[in-house]
Every structure is written in structure tokens, then in C-alpha cells.
Symmetry: C2
Subunit: 444 residues, 2 copies
């Protein structure tokens, strides 16, 4: 009986905490936070005084960047023991970040069986189901009885990460069903496991599916764990709901940050030069893009020289269209992130944004037109402004909604730098329409 | 033995699907998606032909807006039966959206016991732990033995939503511990439940805590379910990990959308006039804000009249600073969303952004300065541009990083319209610094 296991039942647990609770007074997640606040020397000291299992759990909870630095500063023997104690998926995540020679060094110190497993896991793309799955699962022969299964579980369950399910396989190792502890508990003792799962419609995922799709599937069906299979339906592992939370967190962060050209994996803890490297390329693209819009203004210099107020007003047009477009952009990117992609529905959403853009454009441009009329008494100037505003707000709605779709259709991340491209378009069209109209109507 | 329960073990389940599987060929989540694609008349038809339990599960999976419209178009008798069959937290979510008279009508048709429970749940703020918790949980007396507990569970577990845990209470109904089915399975049969939880450090949450904080806590500790208690530590319910996924989804969506002044709860399925109402106020504020920046330009009209190229170049300055600021903004908002708020760490992150802004500003403004020098041979113009660029990019970094913190400190949503405020500041400072410098150095 393991009364000393983690304080609250946890899904995700590298292993039971065998140590006396007083030795690990903190939950591994809290310990990880604590470690994050220490300088490197103290981090190493703290880890050394923990039982290896606790150290493994705590390091698994740290953020990747800190994790990598810390592990490099432990002696390889301890580091290897920590890797060995980690859940295989956490160990894989960690090993993936290390340079090849150090990874080989650590792996050579891990017992052969674990090493083989980790090497296999390392072959999967980290952004796929195979890259995030757990392999410490209970696999049962479907020809066992419920009674045998419970006895097997009693012996095996303590070493496993997902102790609420057992996966059934046939003689070819193909996955045939899933039973929960609860199913076993309420089943008649003599019933065969394969009888329990006869009517199951199994939901599985292939190992090469993108991890964001895996997250959507788990969220959609409210699953605790989703089995990962190969093309022959052989069970490889499972992705668990707690990993999905991390994926959803990461994916939301990615969208929001890449939209404006920040790094997908930046946090406020990232080193300054890491962030500079991620952002600088997009800032350079932004300079080039804004030079395009500036070139449009340049074409109208004679017009502006005659009537400098246009330079002030053109800014309102472009800014308003930019904001309209960004609203459409944000709604669209989130929709693509949350739902399964449905091409028809997605393009209908563009029509929807055009309608919203038209109504808001009509109201805003009408209001601005009237206001300008009252203030300047200049019918032509007010008309130019009104027409350019509604035109450019429609451009904003159209491109705000369609840029993520276009990026998606050409196989890119729908969020990547979308805000930068959008702004170029709304700026250029805004300047062109307003200055063009003004030149023609006011000075022509 | 319930071989007919849902295809894959699910955490979140209003009730067992008792009907023949052929009657509900779709998973409730898929049925909900199917219903979403039908027009209202067909939705009503589809729901009517489903067993009430399946109808309840499917409607619970629909999005709130569609859900509300559909339920209003069912006859109140059927609607009330569906509400009765739903998980209490789903039923509460649905009832909260209905107008008062219709809600009362439905509640009056629900059996007294369920009605009392729903009325209690409706008193909780929907954005708090109490508002998202489930109440169908297994509560056991801590003085039972493991053996008694398993027998109790075998009888009770089928009606409960969270069948993997049982919650232990003392004679005052205070929560004393949590045991999982697995704990019971591996326990000696005669051991008292309170012995099993003696060393537990219980993680709980008070009913009035914001749901986003609840989500952070569940994600932080990798919990499947978090008990919700009142101030006397009496158990009220639990928040489950699947609800957390929805909260994280919603919260990420909210941040991304409110940042640019779109509605927090908009989707591509929202009616056009709903989105117009949400966005128009912020577009109006954006007009006012961009008028401020336009006013700055207006002050420099004499300068621009003499040298219209400035109107083109000023746009590059403001745009570049805006992008720099948005990168800082996105990283900051995500950090505030994902982590527990730590004031000191947050303000240190502002310093970090200033460093990044300085390095990127130095490189970009240096590059632009050199390029302008080569193209225009005008040292003064190039210098104005370079100085204004680095100055405004620093302004962008400073305000991009601090606007979310300022909003947080004054008790507002850190994301709300932050991009709109930021742009006003970077535009105004960009125009002022560049046109001011140019007027002084080139024309002064």
C-alpha cells in the first residue's frame, strides 16, 4: 500500500515518491518553481540533496531552457540517473534539447532497456503524437478475465504513469480496446476482457499526427488519454490530457507571439539575445514592408506638399483599417487553432468578416465624415476621408480574415507574422486610396 | 456490467449512455458538431429523435450561442427533461444564458431535488470555481474501510461524473482526503480510509476563486480534478481537467481577441451584429486615439509642407516602434496568463524588454540610417530617422511591456485593447520625435 504517494492523485507521475514525505516537502511543480528562482550553483546544490526520483520529477516540471542549463551542470552520472528516473516522454523532451555528444554520453550511462526505449522515442518528431506520447502504460492480453486483470494491475500499476486504464491487445499486438479500473471494478469477475470492449468505438491517433491535432482530439472527446498507434494499429503509447494542457498553452502562446513576429517559444525568462534573434528578422521584414507603404506616400508627395493636413488624416485611415483587420485576424487565428479545419466554413467566415467590416466601416466612416464636415466645412475633404475609410476598412476585414487562411492553405502557420503582413496591406491601400482621392477631388 | 457505456472512457459524462449504441452512432461531441451544421428546424427534429440522455450530452457539447437558441425552440417539457439529464455544471451553464422567466419555467418542471441543486449552483459567479465545478461526486465517510468503500462505489459509481476518485469527509462534512480507485484497489481490504490519506497534503480551492486561477492550479499540479471548498473547508464540488481545457482555450482566445478590441467570446459562428456590437466601441476609441496621433502630425504641417518626404518616412518610424511594442506586449500578456502573478518578476520583465528594444532598435535604426545615407546622401535626414527610430522603438518596448502590467495593477484585464493604446503611444511619440527633429535639424 502506497500511502506515501503524491499528495493528490496525479495523472502524470514519473514514479511513486518512495521517500519520506518530509524529505520532499514541496510538490514537484512547486519545487520546480523554487529551483527556477535560484542561481545555477544553488540549483545544483538543491538537486543534489533531493532523492533522485524527486529530482527527476522536479526537473521534469521546469521550463525547457532552465532544464537544459541545469542538467549540463550536473555531473553526467547524476544526470543519467535523473534521466532514467524520469517518465520516458519527459526524458525524451530533455534529451532532445542536448547536443548530440552529451546526449550520447548520458544515454550510454542509462540501463540498456531504458536506453533502447529512449532511443526509439527520440526517433519521433517532437511535434507529433509519437513525440509527446507516454510509453509507461499497462498492456493486457484481451483473453484475460477481469479477475486476472485486476490481479495483474495490482502488481504492475505502481510503476505506470497512467494507472486508470489498461490497453488490450490481440496476438498481433494490435490494439483492440481500453478498459478503465472502474470497468474492471464493476465487471463480473469471470468475464473476458474482450467481452468488455466488444462494442467500443476506439478513438486512436497515428504516431505521425501533429501534436496540435492530438490536443484538439483529446479536447473534443474529453478524453483522459488517447492511444497512439502505428499504421498496423499496433499500440505505441498514449498521449495524456495533462500533456494536452501544455500543448494548448504553448499553442495559444505561439499564435499570439508569432502573429507579431515574436518567437513562438519566448517567455519573460528567455535570455535577451534569444529574443533578439527571434524578433530581429521580423522587424527587418517589417521595415521593408513599411517602406512599401512609405513608397506609396512618396508617390503622393506633390499632393501632400500642397495640403499637409492630408498627412495627418491619412494616418487615421490606415490605423482604423489596421485595427479592423486585426480584429478579424485574431478571431480567425483562434478559430483555426481551436477547431478542426473546414475549408468551406473557413471561407464563409471571410464573408462574415466582410459584413462586419462593412457595417463598422459604414458607421465609423459616416461618423468621421460628419465630424470633419462640421469642423472643416469642406465637403470634398470629408468625402475623401469617408470613402477612403470604408474602402480601407473593407480591405482590412478581407485581408485580416484571409491571411491566416492563405497561410494555412500554403502549409504555413496561420499566425506567423500575419499582423505584419496585414498592416502593410492596410497601410498601403489606405494611403493610396485617401491620397489618390484627395489629389483628384481636392487638387485635381 | 455496463458494456454499453461510452466508447472510450471519458472523464466528463453526464450519465451512462443506456440506449443501444446503434441509436447514438455518434459520440456526443460529434453529434454536437453535426447539430451545429443543421438549420434550426432540423436541429429540433434531430434532438427529438434522440433518447433524452443522448440529447442532453450532445447539447452540452454545443457552443453556448447555438445551445441557447436550440433550447428555446424545444417545447419546455422536453427542454426541462434535457436540463435534468445534463451534468449539473452543464445545466447551470445553459440556464445562466436563458432569460429569467424561461429559466424559472424550466426549473419549475425539474424534480425538486435537482431544482434545489441547480438553484444553489446558479448562485455562484460563473467565472469562479463555484461556477464551473461539478457536484456529482462520490463522497465517503472517512471511517469506512477500503472494502466497504469499494462496495459503496460499485453501487454509486454509475451515476457519478468523476468515477476515478472518492472524497472523504469527517463528521462535520469537512474534506479530509481524496482516494482514487487505484488506491482502493491496492489497499489492504480492512484498512480505514482515513489511514490511507493520513499523509496527504490536500490541494483545494475556495469557491470564490477566479476560474483562470483554478485552471492555472490544475495545470500547475497536473491534477485530474481539484476539490472546491467553502470557507469552512466543506466540500462543495470539484473542477475537472476537461473543464480546464475549455477555460484555457477561452482564456487564450480572450487575450488574443480583446488585445485588438474584438469580443472575448466571439467566434466565426457568432452572429454579425453580435461582433459589430463588441468591436464598434473599440473602433471608435481607436479613431479617437489615432486622432491624437494625427493631431501631432497636424502640429508639424508647416514642416511637412516644406518637405513631404517626411510624411512617408514618419510612417516607417511609427510602424517599426508599433511592431516592437507588440512583440513585447504579446510575450507579456501570455506570461501573465500562464503564470502566477509575481510583481517583482513582472517589472523585471519590463527591463528585459527595454534591453531587447535597445539592441533591436540600435541594429534597425543603424541599418536604416546607413541605407538612407547611401540613397539620399543627406546626413541630417538620415540622422533624424536613426535617432527617432531608436527612441520610438524604446518607447514601444517600454509601453508594450508595461501596458498589460498597468492594466493588471489597476484591476483590469491585462489584454483589453492593449494593442490599441500601444499604437496610439508609439504613433504619437514617433511622429513627434521624427517631425520635431527634422523640423529642427533640416529646416530650423
Amino acid at each position: 500500500m502506497s500511502v506515501k504517494e503524491s499528495p493528490i492523485p496525479k495523472l502524470y507521475q514519473a514514479d511513486e515518491v518512495e521517500a519520506d514525505p518530509s524529505e520532499l516537502e514541496q510538490h514537484p511543480a512547486d519545487a520546480a518553481e523554487h529551483i527556477g528562482g535560484l542561481d545555477l550553483t544553488d540549483q545544483v546544490k538543491f538537486i543534489k540533496q533531493l532523492p533522485v526520483k524527486d529530482a527527476a520529477q522536479s526537473i521534469a516540471e521546469m521550463d525547457q531552457h532552465d532544464q537544459r542549463i541545469l542538467i549540463k551542470h550536473l555531473n553526467p552520472g547524476l544526470a543519467a540517473r535523473i534521466v532514467e528516473e524520469m517518465a520516458p516522454d519527459d526524458a525524451t523532451d530533455l534529451l532532445e534539447q542536448l547536443d548530440e555528444s552529451y546526449r550520447k554520453n548520458l544515454l550510454s550511462r542509462v540501463p540498456a532497456q531504458d536506453r533502447a526505449e529512449l532511443k526509439t522515442l527520440l526517433t519521433f518528431d517532437p511535434d507529433t503524437a509519437g513525440g509527446v506520447m507516454n510509453t509507461d502504460i499497462v498492456i493486457l492480453d484481451q483473453d484475460l478475465t477481469a479477475d486476472d486483470a485486476i490481479n495483474t494491475l495490482r502488481k504492475e500499476v505502481e510503476d505506470k504513469e497512467i494507472p486508470y486504464y489498461a490497453y488490450l491487445v490481440d496476438e498481433k499486438d494490435s490494439l483492440t480496446g481500453v478498459v478503465s479500473l472502474r470497468d474492471l471494478l464493476v465487471a463480473r469477475r469471470g468475464v473476458m476482457l474482450k467481452e468488455l470492449v466488444k462494442t467500443q468505438h476506439l478513438i486512436t491517433v497515428s504516431y505521425n499526427i501533429d501534436k496540435e491535432e492530438v490536443a484538439k482530439k483529446i479536447a473534443h472527446y474529453n478524453l483522459l488519454a488517447l492511444p497512439v498507434v502505428d499504421f498496423g494499429n499496433r499500440l505505441l503509447g498514449v498521449v495524456t490530457v495533462d500533456d494536452v494542457i501544455d500543448i494548448i498553452h504553448d499553442e495559444a502562446t505561439e499564435d499570439m507571439q508569432t502573429m507579431v513576429g515574436a518567437g513562438a517559444d519566448e517567455t519573460t525568462d528567455s535570455p535577451v539575445n534569444f529574443s533578439v534573434k527571434k524578433r530581429l528578422p521580423w522587424l527587418i521584414i517589417n521595415v521593408i514592408n513599411s517602406a512599401v507603404a512609405a513608397y506609396v506616400v512618396h508617390l503622393f508627395e506633390p499632393t501632400i506638399s500642397k495640403m499637409a493636413i492630408l498627412a495627418a488624416l491619412m494616418h487615421i485611415v490606415s490605423n482604423q483599417a489596421g485595427n479592423t483587420g486585426q480584429q478579424a485576424l485574431a478571431v480567425m487565428i483562434r478559430q483555426l487553432a481551436v477547431e478542426k479545419f473546414d475549408r468551406k466554413k473557413a471561407w464563409l467566415a471571410v464573408i462574415r468578416e466582410l459584413k462586419i467590416g462593412f457595417i463598422n466601416g459604414f458607421l465609423i466612416s459616416g461618423g468621421v465624415l460628419l465630424l470633419l464636415l462640421v469642423v472643416t466645412q469642406d465637403v470634398k475633404l470629408a468625402s475623401c476621408m469617408g470613402i477612403a475609410l470604408i474602402f480601407d476598412m473593407l480591405v482590412g476585414a478581407l485581408f485580416g480574415a484571409s491571411i491566416p487562411l492563405i497561410l494555412k492553405e500554403i502549409g504555413r502557420d496561420p499566425a506567423q507574422a500575419s499582423s505584419i503582413f496585414l498592416t502593410t496591406i492596410t497601410d498601403a491601400f489606405g494611403f493610396w486610396s485617401f491620397l489618390g482621392l484627395a489629389g483628384w477631388m481636392l487638387l485635381g
